[in-house]
């Protein structure tokens, strides 16, 4: 059975602060690294999921009789076969394991099939007779507030939130800061909209579930948080947590899209039902409905300021479409609220954010998590305000840049590192490449080789954007990470160490971080990282919120120091065969929730720390054809301290690409709730021809609360890139461009 994602991994050299080659790079370039879709076990069957073709419908009946008798089929399961809790969810259990009487989104799982060949499973699924009574789908988030409640039991009520009695509200947050009616000498306002972005990780949802023969199950899966998967899987199977062991299989990208469950419960159900290992691999089309997306948003903002450029009051209304189930929508709502005014000090603010249930694709975590949407809006507003005041846009941002000692609209005083003015200055100082002469090779024209002009309609523009967001979980969440360190003496008497930490390696490089920290703390050569699993170590929390470097560093540092103390108490050495084995839990400084009525933080901090970034983009637009080319991107990013500089640059370049994608091409299209572009033919992500060079500057101002001062780096580039690229398009065209992604018809002036 090939079920371990990689052998125990050892870093050959490197401590905190050094560029170190990835420990998993060699198995990844040779094809040996076992991703969740590469697993195999003797006697394995293939699982397949029958999904709803409707966005909203009653299920009148399900007849599995013909499907069960198809060749090679071993099981066909519906909600009646779920032995435990029928509902699950990341934060609120509002989603059926398999649809019960009603489907609420296109692609919702309805039934499962296990068969000997994946094609047999697909064909059997086609023979399951489901009688649907289609219902009018709730697809407009504004109308949703007055339409039928899709979840009449209101799963998110009584969670300590503001009580909003309107239909379909997932969460409403109102933040009142200073005098929300304060007037300025000038005012600019605008309405901004963003479409649905997909994480589009390349490794499809997949995994292997293996029954243990004693009623329990092992699930090998690509996920972002092993222990929260177990907490959701076990109750639905009616098993004790220790009977469900989640193992991290190789993860082909995540970006938030693997926070929620995909095949975990389904595979385990089929495995326990058939007594055979079950492999499930989604197709790309299925992947587009198999995970949550970035929330589409409608945002109104008004900025009031004085002639000297100082912001007086920022007034914001945000509407987020959460789709059919809650996922992490409540937290995205609070993040959008927290960062709505941008990284600027403002004495007065009114921020009202509402997220709703609809029959659109469910939305949840994606890199940037609410901060991307508001950055697009607040940066457009800052440019508008600069134009109104006839000030330089960079200068306007510097005049308002938030700094230590300033207070956020939620009442939190900035105490840690947040070098906003520094990232603005460093980014603004980056030299922009000279314009390239025309005519030129079509591959370097907007639109690339498809552009058959000589570039007559090409205009160039430059855009600038600044953004910030939180690191780690916020608002009173008990955010912790465990690590276990085993010191041993090998046969030759040499001291070695094995580190256990369940921090999910999703490609971001946390495996290296863990080993670099262990080498720094233990000063040993022989250190390996054990496979990630729930059975051998406590939770690491989620590989999300730019938190994993901070949290895993804290946990591994704490456990290593405890192991050294234990070793010293035993005289500083171990006899062959002896060992020290300690597990420690690290928690970051405490945070507090917001008051449901005032939106003000109920303690010292709502967020433990912040990270900021500035970006400058140069674009060319063929204004006649509506085609674009991003020529160059420069960025300065606050990173606290670089644990592994090579990996930091990689995160910045990759995060920039995802923000560029949302600016120019990435949108899940729906019609009456049905996704119409669920493929890489129709959902476009940036290719090698779309990405410009990214000139990145690291701003290292260590955070006093962070282990080694290191902040997470994954999200900030994505937060600012969409805003920066669209700002450059506005500069090139003079158009307002209030919606992302910007389409060719917007740029050619055919639609607003």
């Amino acid at each position: 059975m090939r079920t371990v994602s990689a052998p125990a991994r050892k870093l050959e050299h490197g401590r905190v602060g050094e560029s170190v080659l990835r420990v998993d790079a060699i198995p990844k370039v040779t094809g040996e690294f076992a991703y969740s879709s590469d697993l195999f076990a003797a006697g394995m069957l293939w699982g397949h999921t029958l999904r709803s073709p409707h966005a909203h419908a009653e299920i009148e009946s399900i007849d599995i009789s013909e499907a069960v008798s198809m060749p090679g089929v071993h099981a066909v399961l519906t909600h009646e076969d779920v032995p435990g809790k029928k509902l699950y969810g990341l934060e609120f259990a509002d989603q059926p394991v398999l649809a019960i009487n009603r489907v609420r989104y296109f692609g919702e799982p309805v039934a499962l099939v296990a068969a000997e060949h994946p094609e047999q499973a697909r064909r059997a699924a086609e023979k399951i007779q489901v009688q649907y009574q289609p219902l009018e789908p709730v697809v407009d988030p504004e109308r949703a507030l007055e339409q039928e409640d899709l979840h009449p039991e209101r799963p998110t009520e009584e969670a300590g939130y503001f009580n909003d009695p309107r239909s379909n509200v997932v969460r409403t947050i109102v933040i009142r800061h200073g005098d929300p009616d304060a007037e300025g000498e000038v005012s600019v306002s605008g309405v901004y909209e963003l479409g649905i972005q997909d994480q589009a990780f390349l490794g499809p949802e997949s995994g292997l579930a293996v029954p243990d023969g004693e009623g329990g199950v092992d699930v090998y899966v690509a996920t972002q948080w092993l222990h929260v998967d177990r907490a959701q899987v076990a109750p639905c199977l009616d098993l004790r947590p220790e009977q469900v062991r989640i193992h991290l299989a190789g993860v082909g990208g995540a970006f938030g899209g693997r926070e929620d469950l995909s095949m975990q419960i389904h595979g385990a159900l089929l495995a326990l039902h058939t007594g055979r290992p079950i492999k499930i691999v989604y197709t790309r089309e299925e992947s587009f409905v198999g995970h949550v997306h970035r929330h589409p948003a409608r945002i109104w903002m008004e900025h009031r300021a004085n002639h000297d450029g100082k912001l007086v009051n920022v007034r914001v209304r945000i509407l987020l479409d959460g789709g059919a189930y809650a996922s992490s929508t409540t937290a995205v709502t609070s993040n959008a609220s927290s960062f709505a005014q941008g990284p600027y000090a403002v004495a007065n603010a009114l921020v009202e954010t509402t997220s709703v249930y609809t029959n659109n694709p469910p939305c949840g975590a994606m890199r940037g998590f609410g901060a991307v949407q508001v950055c697009f809006a607040h940066e457009a507003q800052m440019d508008k305000l600069a134009a109104e005041l006839a000030l330089d846009p960079v200068d306007l941002r510097l005049r308002n840049a938030i700094a230590q000692g300033d207070i956020l609209p939620n009442g939190q005083r900035i105490t840690g590192s947040l070098p906003v003015a520094e990232v603005i200055r460093r980014c603004a100082a980056l030299p922009v490449p000279e314009p390239e002469a025309l005519p030129r090779d079509a591959i370097r024209l907007p639109g690339g080789a498809g552009n058959v002009t000589r570039g007559e309609g090409v205009k160039r523009g430059t855009g600038f954007a600044v953004g910030f967001k939180n690191i780690c979980y916020s608002h009173g969440f008990d955010d912790y990470c465990a690590a276990r360190v085993r010191l041993f003496a090998d046969a030759s008497g040499e001291l070695g160490a094995e580190v256990h930490c369940a921090a999910a390696e999703v490609g971001q490089g946390v495996t290296n971080v863990i080993l670099q920290v262990a080498r720094t703390e233990l000063e040993l050569e022989n250190i390996t990282l054990a496979p990630h699993q729930t059975a051998t170590v406590d939770s690491a929390g989620s590989a999300s919120a730019s938190r994993m470097t901070w949290m895993a560093s804290g946990a591994v540092q704490t456990a290593c120091r405890a192991a050294r103390e234990e070793l010293e108490s035993r005289g500083g050495s171990l006899a062959s065969g002896d060992e020290v084995d300690v597990e420690r839990v690290y928690r970051h400084p405490q945070t507090w929730p917001l008051d449901p009525e005032t939106g003000q933080v109920q303690g010292e901090r709502a967020h433990v720390a912040f990270v900021c970034s500035a970006m400058k983009a140069v674009v060319e637009v063929d204004t006649e054809l509506g085609l674009t080319r991003v020529v160059w991107i420069g960025t300065a990013q606050d990173i606290g301290r670089a644990v592994n500089p090579q990996a930091v640059y990689g995160q910045i370049e990759g995060g920039t690409a995802q923000g560029l994608g949302l600016a120019l091409m990435e949108e899940i299209q729906t019609r009456d709730g049905l996704i119409t572009n669920a493929s890489f033919t129709d959902y476009l992500i940036p290719t090698a021809l779309d990405m410009p060079p990214v000139d990145a500057v690291l701003v290292e101002e260590p955070d006093p609360d962070a282990p080694y001062g290191a902040k997470g780096v994954g999200e900030p580039p994505t937060v600012v890139a969409t805003a920066a690229v669209v700002a450059a398009l506005r500069d090139a065209t003079g158009l307002e461009l209030t919606r992302a992604p910007v389409r060719p018809d917007h740029l050619a002036g055919l639609t607003a």
């Binding site: 370039v29 040779t30 390349l202 790309r284 080789a449 490609g507 990689g650 370049e653 990759g654 090698a688």
Partner: protein, 152 residues
């Protein structure tokens, strides 16, 4: 149906269903999961292999079409336990993050450098534009191609 083909220099037999792709046969029948299954419709390049020396998406070739032909996958690029120069360059430059696109990009880069030992920037971008990467933003992949070209 039973097919015989040469994979990474070895003659192999596989019992396949007529509708199976070469990618499925490599991954599920022949124990070579290095070629990846990201889209299975020829858009992402993750399953790039050489079929009689020509770069193809293994998901768009039927297993049965490979009967009697020669296939080289990412597992067959290195020799004598040593990495291919392109593989080594991807490791050194940090071109690998999640790595799911890496096998396809390694094969596509090896193919490019076999045809154009010293490609221009535009040639690199165009040659790799059929291989999607979601993690890196491509910058370090371009570094890897340049490093491998210099080493070749």
């Amino acid at each position: 149906m039973r097919i015989t083909l040469t994979v990474n220099g070895e003659e192999r037999e596989a019992d396949v269903w007529a509708g199976e792709s070469l990618l499925f046969a490599l991954r599920e029948r022949l124990g070579l999961p290095g070629s990846k299954n990201a889209c299975e419709q020829g858009e992402c390049g993750s399953c790039s292999v050489l079929l009689d020396g020509v770069l193809v998406c293994a998901c768009l070739v039927l297993a049965a079409q490979a009967e009697g032909h020669e296939v080289v996958t990412v597992e067959g690029l290195g020799s004598d336990g040593r990495l291919h120069a392109v593989q080594e360059a991807f490791v050194q430059t940090g071109a690998v993050q999640c790595g799911f696109c890496t096998p396809g990009l390694v094969v596509a880069t090896a193919d490019l450098l076999a045809r154009r030992p010293d490609p221009s920037e535009d040639e690199i971008r165009e040659a790799l534009s059929g291989n999607l990467c979601r993690c890196t933003g491509y910058a370090k992949i371009f570094d890897a191609v340049r490093l491998a070209a210099g080493a070749a």
